[in-house]
Symmetry: D2
């Protein structure tokens, strides 16, 4: 056996998704989970012990200063994205940032600028691009198999149980619409001309539980985004995520909600996740792993990631932020 | 960055599936595609050049003798499984063998015996066990969520286009039923008591195009396997593979045929593979990769693989071989 | 407005399905629900009052003697089918008999004989033949669109909640397999050569909760019937009924379980019946109505019903009775 | 046998759907297809001969003057709806009018007014209300099973093959959106507050091939309508029609496109209609029949139809006409 280089990873932000990152990274070959950071000391101890990570920080600047960290993985609250990311880029680290890039286009502009000046690599985790269903859809579109796109619809709905946990941090329309906004612009290689949106707010959290956005793109297509985090507690869906992409010569249908497994037990009916980050034999399998793998490989090979550019991540925020503005003002927003 | 060991892999057998192995292994971190072997010199040159593999053999014994190979990956015609595998085990290499283990139980017995004496690790590639849909089904069963299994059905049907390419080597019932036979015994932790089968042979190849087997297991369950490689050329299914597992307290449904992507283009309707070994951004994503990863990790860490034992692989062959005997004699076969 | 004749209907047997018959007939134009019969006086009063039927009998012979009844509709326990049907036919009435025709082939033979001598019309209610999904499948087969049938599978599974109510009267394999046995012989225009079956009996009722039968037909096809009345209480299926019909040139898939409506409410997930006899605006819509309509039209127009012959109904019983015999003896039954 | 009254039916407009009406009415008990009317003499002769209808008119006023016609069934081009309907109502006949009621709200107002003064009964054929999937959804909503509606989406997409035949008469958004607009107002018992829409026009017909409308209702719900008549020629869908109705306490999903039958033959894959007006044993089965039955029963029993009121039909036109105005002006339309 010969040898290869290992990429050392530090995670900032240890909420539930930071933990999923840790679980995924922990057993990936060629990757070392090298450092963890959160302001909550007990959480830091818990995950540090669980994953056997010695380097533990409550201040993210300490992690940025650690020479034994190659990649900084930002999985914090969206409101902290801008400052941590910019400082991390300035520190010379490679930065992997969870989506959405930042709450506002102005914040995004500053991140894009910092990324442009940085030596380290930078990518926002638009995980759906690594979904084999989505990636093959993109490939079919690029091959011209459905002609020119004329209409797209994306649904990404969640149980109110999940909604309640997240809706004080971000709205459904911004939180999940960001995925589909990004995918629709990527699929169509188009820019939005206008967007109109409506939101609903039946719950008691800070942000609206659901929203619909309708964009006109500069290639003539209509793009409609639906994101409602208010499905009943009994919903079988882990996530009801699907897309319809209609072209002049064909049609593509993606279904990430009915993903090949249905379990009916005493507690009801369940359609578990089988691809995003399911636990398989104790390992986190699937798309998140592939996404982190991609970034690690870029770092190991010194090859700047080009699958998702900072400009694209900014464009998705711009689309959804305009949708939220439309929802709040009742006006059609033109770009 | 630190370093890890690399597992050096040699493939014997370069048909279409040996090529898929090569494509998958070629870009896996910690793995080196070190050697290739086939009797066909032109094919050897083609794939050797494509994957940049210097060590190329037309005689498998040369590959077995190569000290720079850690794992021997046997992807040959089933009739060659026994002899190559036994010699590979005797050579001290780790051996990964494609399913089914061998054509007969007697052959399997000899392989099991050789594996028992060998220092190298050995595993038959029952790929479906690494399927996140299937693995999560197994986990739900083991957690008791569906109670005691009472009835199982598995369908694994293919287009006649594929059938015509394979049916001179193996029957549909043995070729694909082996997957489901293995899974059903694994799910139920039971042994077959009897099996009855019927086959159909509408095509012109050597082996029957389709077959049905009905087994009684020693836990009282009925297990029914359907494998028909005669779907119309227009079938949208890449593979129509699904399972139903009914228990005293619940039910599980697995669907690997409708895997979240549907493409309608000028050529018709398509339900591409999104999990077994789809090409995503030029990489082979998914279950095959996870399976090979598992074996490589076992080798790298010096930990004997225990997810699939040689005895289990033999048991699946025993079940399907009895089914074929039933089909040929018209009799119920008792174990 | 001009006028048409009305067919006067008398129902013998007022269990839950007799009641569904009554509900369906009650508002059909050209039909008068003229008489009701059951041994249970309270039930007779209840339904007589509800449907405004004046003629009420506790002895079926009284109903047979009533000159104001044109059609006798036998919806009794299967064990009473033979005697009531034969006497009804001898009385000169038209007879509509619920499936299965009778418990044994010998009983069927006597009914077939009586029907042959009778002046009145006779039909067994193989309701699935009137299912537009099934009827269109039959039409596609007859048009040669899938070539020659090589393999068929039918599943007709129910919740254990329903199973417990019915399994003291009839087994799952006979009770629901009769539908699919009839359809498979109808589709293929073939005769069974042999049949093999296995049943499971996890419940505490008299008859087995589930069964699988595998028949070889004289056109070379394999026909597999699955009937398990032991789905969990949480199953979303009103009935999980589906068929796969594979031919040399095509394939047909029928799905009667996922019938276009899914309701997720506080009690769980539900896939209601939308076609057999759903209540729509207080009326019983669909297939049962179409079936009874057909028989009424035959009677009104004096045209002997020919869609389902007594011989066909007998053949379905013969197939399933042989399957039950196989299950009980462990032997393959040859015809 | 006793007797009942027969309702005599006259059809004005013998395009493809007028013919489907004729086929359906031709064999319904209690109904007599009494008269036919179209300006095309050859078409009149063809259908008159086929259905054995003696009374044939090329001028609709002749049919209105015929004393042997009870019901006038208007199945003409939408541009002729207003004048024929008003004259028919003034003639004292009962009038069944195909949807949409009329092209403009002003036209609708005049029809509503005429209906209010008429002695005959009047109903617009919003056929989907008679769909057992839809009607049961309505019932579940009315029972409070999903709480208060917060979001609705309806898709009703067709092949471009059909689009090309219809798009010179009406746009996709108006032509099929009228169904869903009506259903959404019916489900929610709400009124629209505002609507915004976008259309696409990739084809060469007069009207846009597809459109999306987003309405805000006065109960706070968002209602989104999708109608694209540009699916590829290879689409398996007869119609891809589905609805999602999300409430505060539950969710309902209706799928009319995958209706239980899939045929794969040499020509491709097909998901035939099994409920709207499929041909079953030579008869037109299903929802259209139920709808016409309802109106005929109202007439026969002298009971004014109340399931669909003229005001409701007008409201659906008002919603969709505003959507079209929004699409044309780029503005949000407020009611």
């Amino acid at each position: 056996m010969s040898t290869t280089k290992t990429v050392r990873w530090g995670i900032i932000g240890l909420g539930w998704f930071g933990e999923v990152h840790a679980e995924t990274l922990a057993d990936m070959p060629g990757i070392e989970l090298a450092a963890l950071c959160t302001r909550r000391a007990d959480r830091l101890a818990e995950l540090g012990n669980r994953f056997g990570v010695a380097k533990r920080y409550t201040d993210f600047r300490q992690l940025l200063a650690d020479p034994d960290v190659d990649v900084v993985d930002v999985v914090t609250h969206i409101d902290d994205h801008r400052d941590i990311t910019i400082e991390a880029l300035q520190s010379g680290k490679h930065v992997f940032l969870e989506k959405p890039m930042a709450p506002t286009v102005a914040d995004c502009d500053r991140i894009v600028e910092a990324a442009g000046r940085a030596e380290g690599f930078f990518m926002v985790g638009h995980i759906c691009r690594f979904d084999p269903r989505v990636a093959q859809a993109k490939q079919a579109i690029d091959e011209g198999r459905i002609g020119k796109i004329i209409s797209m619809h994306a649904r990404r709905n969640l149980s109110k149980t999940i909604g309640r946990m997240v809706l004080d941090k971000i709205s459904a329309l911004m939180g999940d619409g960001i995925h589909d906004g990004d995918l629709m612009l990527w699929f169509s290689r188009a820019k939005p001309v206008s967007v109109y949106a409506q939101e609903v707010h039946p719950g008691k959290n800070k942000y609206p539980d659901g929203g619909w956005a309708m964009a006109r793109l500069d290639n003539g297509a209509v793009a409609v985004i639906e994101s409602v985090w208010h499905l009943p507690e009994t919903t079988p869906y882990q996530i009801d995520a699907r897309m319809e992409i209609l072209g002049t010569e064909g049609a593509i249908y993606v279904n990430c909600g009915e993903a090949g497994l249905e379990v009916h037990d005493a507690a009801g009916n369940h359609l578990p996740d089988t691809l995003y980050w399911p636990r398989v034999f104790g390992q986190r399998f699937g798309i998140l792993r592939a996404e982190l793998r991609y970034f690690a490989d870029c770092v190991a090979q010194g090859q700047r990631p080009d699958r998702i550019t900072p400009e694209e991540s900014r464009a998705a925020v711009a689309l959804l932020a305009a949708a939220v503005e439309s929802s709040q003002t009742g006006k059609v927003i033109h770009f």
